[in-house]
């Protein structure tokens, strides 16, 4: 019983982080139909910027996120303006050019990080890093709780943005039917720049949060990119709810396998990869499509 509570809790806490991380990929794919291979690089950079803010300016990493978010949004917009034309959406599938370009951006970011921060392993040690609190009789690390709260806050912010503002509705409109959005007067280029900025900001925030949970090097982020792929394949790219659902499925699976089976933690990445594979084969349209199918069956 105790273990069940513990597994549920850690799955839930991880899911928040995963959703933040995956949404960054989803919004860029949704609007521009490109797969942002530089996502892992942005996460790594987010971790280092948070680290620098903490070590140089003694800014608490979670307060640092308030700086990292806007900073990375700006960075993403500038990057889009610089190289966006070659990423311009040409059809329903991502172009090879865009993939290569973004992969290149990732490599550049990695090398930049080696130059600025060296290849040494870094970590953030705050006064509460080692502390834990008790929830339902289970000890949970304080940073994990903060990460969950910060994730929840960013996802709520995002949901309000998408549901309540003209800008957010334009993002959804371009995602759901680009031509119709153009014909209603939406400036596709501006929305693409915004989406790229948002995606970058979410990657940076996710990286910043991860830096409070684990050590990192310039190579950091690869396994999380894989997890993010897995989540958006599961949850679809259309909605925040879908992404959150995909994140929860992955987090539950990882934690359940870790707790109840002898699968070693070192094989955790294999879990997301296996899940990605199964998901692609079994229901290529993602969980929402699967649910829709069930719903239709139930009505009949």
């Amino acid at each position: 019983m105790q273990q069940l509570v513990s597994v549920t809790l850690s799955a839930l806490l991880a899911a928040g982080l995963y959703a933040t991380m995956a949404y960054g990929l989803a919004v860029i794919y949704g609007v521009m139909r490109i797969i942002n291979l530089a996502h892992a690089g942005f996460m790594m950079l987010g971790a280092y910027v948070t680290f620098t803010l903490f070590s140089r300016f003694s800014l608490d990493p979670f307060i640092g996120l308030v700086v990292v978010g806007p900073l990375f949004f700006f960075f993403g917009v500038v990057l889009y303006r610089a190289v966006g034309k070659s990423m311009a959406r040409s059809g329903a599938t991502p172009s090879i050019e865009s993939l290569l370009l973004l992969f290149g951006v990732w490599l550049v970011l990695q090398n930049l990080a080696y130059v600025i921060w060296t290849g040494d392993t870094q970590s953030i040690l705050t006064s509460y890093t080692m502390k834990s609190i008790e929830i339902f009789g289970v000890h949970v690390g304080v940073p994990s709780v903060f990460v969950f709260l910060a994730s929840a806050a960013s996802l709520i912010f995002l949901n309000v943005l998408l549901k309540r503002t003209y800008l957010g509705k334009a993002i959804r409109a371009v995602t759901q039917n680009r031509d119709a959005a153009l014909l209603s007067g939406v400036d596709a280029d501006r929305i693409s720049a915004t989406a790229f900025g948002l995606g970058t900001a979410f990657a940076g925030i996710a990286g910043g949060m991860l830096s409070t949970l684990m050590a990192f090097t310039p190579d950091f982020g690869r396994s999380f990119l894989l997890k993010a792929f897995c989540i958006i394949v599961l949850g679809g790219m259309e909605s925040v709810t879908g992404v959150a659902l995909g994140a929860l499925v992955l987090a539950v699976l990882e934690n359940v396998l870790g707790a109840y089976t002898p699968v070693p933690t070192s094989l955790q990445d294999a879990v997301s990869f296996a899940l990605l594979f199964v998901a692609l084969v079994a229901f290529p349209q993602g969980l929402p499509a699967l649910f829709a199918r069930f719903e239709r069956k139930a009505i009949r």
Binding site: K169, A181, L182, G185, D187
Partner: protein, 237 residues
């Protein structure tokens, strides 16, 4: 109001329009007649900016608008209601309509325009909370027309607005086009039901494999044997 001169349009390497030329005067209804694949939708896509012409010129109210992005053209008042509805399926009917007024020229009057759209299609008002993807085909068509009107068009381009509607609704849509025109909106209409379209329109022209082959007053064309045999024969059944 609209002068299209010598337009060539391509999809990749495949040419779809050859030297298409026509004009639309203010307040007119002009209809484009043509078989499947003749290039009617392509013509409307080109005017609305979704497709950039390789050659030729488009002048709207005296200004050269060739190659402008769709959002700029919407702000100028050129609005296309595209073929096959193209709604945002996961948004509610209300959101679809509201986003129709996204252009900065349409936003200030949004609430007012919404009321007139509801007056035209009362059924939409009962469906505002429903996701557009779950509407019936006919309801989706109404929603698409409503969304186009939300942009406050001065030149309205309609691509088969009556497709999939019950006969009674087809009549309603055509009636509403009349009232839209009475509000001073100029209309270019593509419609499978050539008889209906010619009855409504002032002028018409015929597209055959991407070229204009015939044009004139709608009433004259309705009696032209080439139209009667080629396009009215089946529609009369």
């Amino acid at each position: 109001m609209l002068e299209v001169t010598g337009i060539d349009a391509f999809y990749g390497k495949v040419q779809a329009l050859w030297d298409v030329t026509f004009r639309v005067a203010k307040g007119e209804i002009v209809t484009i007649i043509g078989a499947n694949g003749a290039g009617k939708s392509t013509t409307l896509k080109t005017i609305s900016g979704l497709l950039k012409p390789r050659k030729g010129q488009i002048v709207f109210e005296g200004a050269d608008v060739t190659g402008l992005a769709p959002n700029r053209l919407v702000e100028l008042g050129i609005v296309l209601i595209p073929e096959a509805r193209q709604l945002w399926p996961a948004m509610s009917v209300l959101e679809n309509l509201e986003m129709g007024a996204y252009a900065r020229t349409a936003r200030p009057a949004r609430a007012q325009t919404l009321q007139s759209v509801f007056a035209m299609f009362p059924l939409l008002k009962q469906r505002v909370r429903q996701r557009a993807g779950t509407l019936s085909g006919g309801e989706q068509q109404m929603c698409a027309i409503g969304r186009g009107l939300m942009a406050r068009p001065r030149l309205l381009l309609l691509d088969e607005p009556a497709l999939g509607l019950a006969p009674l609704l087809v009549r309603e849509v055509f009636e509403s086009l009349k009232s839209i025109r009475e509000q001073g909106v100029t209309i270019v209409l593509v419609e499978q039901n050539v008889r209906h379209a010619l009855a409504l329109a002032d002028r018409a022209f015929v597209l055959e494999t991407g070229r204009v082959t015939l044009s004139g007053q709608a009433s004259d064309l309705a009696h032209d044997p080439r139209i009667r045999d080629g396009y009215l024969g089946l529609a009369a059944v």
